[in-house]
């Protein structure tokens, strides 16, 4: 029986493996290759050079990188605080109503992120849905609320809400009720139950949720373009500019590689620490 499962496992894995090898691994290798090419070439047939990484440090590309990582970090913390109470309710309290919330949140994912962010533009711009109505009701002159850094963080928080919420729900539902009850009977305060039981036991869900939101937000582009105008430049913008206006594939690749190494490194580290079977609920 084991022999059969060994073979069937490998064979079933093949289609996805081949697919991802061709469209995920190979392209990333090309990026890595181009990152070590001299600037402004379009072929990999050149002698390797570290010129692009020197440009990264000399021309201050670390500023947009840090800005992207900082905004992603802020959005992740904000999302954790916002999602935890709701996730707790969905996992432990709401019962059937949590299915309704799940469906309503998933449904928003199917509307293009662009369109939803543009909806925020229409909501917050001068004369938009919020300022416009407030102005009409109160008679006060209202400015638009767009084009600054906090609004981009809010945009990220909005766009990646489901990616924090669902892993948290999954994580919190792994906390056994008996354990919380026992701790409460023994006189533990709510805060102590939260810190010593809820947090550690829900940690796999917290890790997955935070990781997902952080890496997606760190590489996001649409939020800063639509909500930030041209006021805030993030890492993904710089990468795109290097490729398009700059026509400098090696520089763009080096910038992309740096982002990929940070984000991919985090993802691999976290994925290697968590038990996927446990989170997704394998029997036995």
């Amino acid at each position: 029986m084991e022999r059969i499962e060994e073979r069937q496992g490998l064979l079933s894995a093949l289609p996805v493996l081949i697919l991802l090898g061709a469209i995920f691994l190979a392209p990333l290798l090309v990026v890595a290759g181009f990152a070590f090419m001299p600037p402004k070439v379009f072929h990999l047939a050149h002698l390797p050079s570290f010129e692009n990484f020197r440009i990264f440090f000399d021309q201050g590309y670390h500023a947009p990188l840090l800005r992207s990582l900082g905004m992603a970090g802020a959005a992740t913390v904000l999302l954790f605080v916002l999602c935890y109470p709701l996730a707790y309710g969905m996992a432990k309290i709401f019962g059937r109503f949590s299915l309704a919330i799940t469906l309503a949140v998933v449904a928003t994912l199917f509307v293009s992120e662009n369109i939803r962010l543009f909806g925020w533009v229409l909501t917050l711009m001068k004369g938009g849905m919020l300022p416009g109505h407030l102005e009409a009701w109160t008679g006060l002159e209202m400015d638009g609320l767009l084009y600054n850094l906090p609004i981009i963080v809010l945009g990220l928080t909005y766009a990646y809400f489901p990616f924090m919420l669902f892993p948290l729900v999954q994580g919190i539902s792994m906390v056994p009720d008996d354990l919380r009850l026992a701790a409460s009977d023994l006189g533990a305060s709510r805060l102590r139950i939260f810190l010593e039981i809820d947090l550690p036991l829900a940690m796999p869900g917290i890790v997955v949720g935070s990781l997902l939101t952080f890496v997606l937000a760190a590489g996001a582009m649409a939020e800063s373009k639509l909500l930030g105008g041209q006021a805030v430049i993030v890492m993904a913008d710089e990468i795109e500019t290097a490729f398009t206006y700059g026509q400098n594939w090696p520089l763009g690749s080096a910038l992309a590689l740096i982002l990929i190494l940070i984000v991919g490194g985090l993802a691999i580290l976290a994925l290697s620490k968590i038990d996927l079977d446990g989170i997704m609920g394998r029997r036995s």
Binding site: G9, P15, L19, L20, N114
Partner: protein, 271 residues
């Protein structure tokens, strides 16, 4: 631990408020699509449905819809097939490299999509493929095939291996087991994965941006219009894609419910 009614009520109110905020921008788009003014400003003075008519007449818009539909449909087919087998390797069979396989399949989900799109652009260039809407299919699959695998895998975890083993002991072959045991049991997962794949591809922008070449998908066109100043067609076309997502969602919910009921009846009320 028993929760106080006040906690329950507070969390419920919080949940409803959250949903309202999530849908606020979508409501703004829907309202804006009915505004008569050429330059939008709230509160809306006069309503009209003329922009929908204009959008429907436009040949650009219908071309875009056809392109987006072709891409989403192909993405759906490939990711459901790859995801079905991938999910079995992910959750059902115990084999040596399962842990590594699980992590590898999930890895693309954790990568910034715009960067993946650029990487693919360079890869296509390196192997001499000109980007068109067909290459966008490959690009969407990077992100969507792992998600389809994950969605079906969640279903496959709840799967009792004894059913397959019993069929094998009674002499059923691999494909017969697959067709008569495995596929029917995983069917709800397969339907949801297909729906996810189609809709995520239909709305995807960052992966399309660099990989469609001269062709345009609907989200790309909308984006180009958004950054080049206000056009009243953006809210109306946006609302139309929204309506299509909604219809598909409701149709598949009805479909899952119907097949579930038929299966329960066939099993004599259990299911």
């Amino acid at each position: 631990m028993p929760h106080k009614p006040i906690t329950r009520a507070a969390l419920l109110v919080y949940g409803i408020l959250t949903l309202l905020v999530l849908y606020l921008p979508i409501a703004a788009i829907a309202f804006a699509s009915f505004s008569k003014a050429r330059y939008l400003s709230f509160p809306i003075e006069r309503y009209t449905s003329q922009w929908y008519g204009k959008a429907l007449e436009s040949s650009t818009v219908s071309d875009l819809i056809v392109t987006s539909f072709k891409v989403a449909f192909a993405v759906m087919l490939v990711s459901v097939v790859a995801g079905f087998f991938g999910a079995l390797a992910f959750a059902r069979y115990r084999w040596r490299f399962r842990g590594v396989f699980q992590k590898f399949v999930l890895l693309p989900i954790f990568f910034p999509q715009a960067v993946l799109g650029l990487a693919l652009l360079m890869w296509f260039n390196a192997i001499g493929v000109t980007p068109t809407w067909q290459t966008a299919i490959a690009a969407h699959l990077v992100w969507i095939a792992p998600i389809a695998t994950l969605v079906i895998a969640i279903r496959a975890y709840g799967f009792d291996p004894a059913l397959e083993e019993a069929a094998r002991d009674m002499g059923a072959g691999y494909w017969q087991i697959l067709r008569e045991i495995t596929l029917p049991l995983l069917w709800p997962g397969v339907v949801s994965a297909g729906l996810f794949a189609f809709l995520l591809s239909w709305g995807n922008f960052p992966l399309s941006l660099f990989t469609t070449g001269a062709d345009l998908t609907l989200p790309e066109w909308l984006y180009a219009k958004m950054v080049s100043g206000y056009s009243p067609l953006v809210p109306s076309v946006g609302s139309m894609t929204l309506a299509l997502s909604l219809i598909l969602l409701l149709a598949s919910a009805a479909c899952i419910r119907l097949t579930g009921r038929r299966r329960r009846r066939a099993n004599g009320g259990e299911g």
